[in-house]
Subunit: 104 residues, 2 copies
């Protein structure tokens, strides 16, 4: 867990918002995954396009934000066909919360 990298990733309004939305994906992305058949359904994951539409930034910006958050460990992803689904990595978030609470 690279704390600095994590705090940097969290230091941006839009990235923070994305992370927040992904806490309740079915709530914030109601029409999500119209593409995927249920059996392949990536639990809690939302594709880049749906996120982009909501966050109001260019496609490349959103793609880079998501990649950055994944590098920091905040998100994880899988690719299915042409879509990449991102969801939160709760383990990292838990660890960070514990670090803030106990060590910092």
């Amino acid at each position: 867990m690279n704390t600095i990298e994590l705090f940097k990733a969290l230091s941006n309004e839009k990235r923070l918002q994305i992370l927040h939305w992904l806490k309740e994906p079915e709530k914030h992305f109601p029409k999500q995954q119209a593409h995927l058949p249920k059996e392949v359904h990536y639990k809690g994951g939302v594709c880049v396009g749906d996120i982009q539409e909501k966050v109001q930034a260019s496609q490349s910006t959103v793609s880079q934000y998501l990649a950055m958050m994944q590098r920091a460990g905040l998100l994880e992803s899988i690719r299915h066909n042409q879509w990449t689904y991102y969801r939160r990595n709760e383990e990292t978030l838990q660890k960070l919360a514990a670090y803030l609470d106990k060590e910092l």
Copy 2:
């Protein structure tokens, strides 16, 4: 509590270190406050010079770091004579930890 501002302030190795040191000031700044008489002693506060000596950065850098952390709410300060004593603002840290644990 401005979350973005807080995360930015935490996104720097040296600032994070200072915050950490100030958790146990008597441990990390043993010869602290030789200047002050006990009755004026600012509990847990450490002066800029002592912090600068330990963090290894220029005087102006350290002064700016401390001011920035104070603006974000991570630190608080009082001035006594020519010294400014900085200590942690535990309330903000508590709130941030709670935010990370519950809301984020």
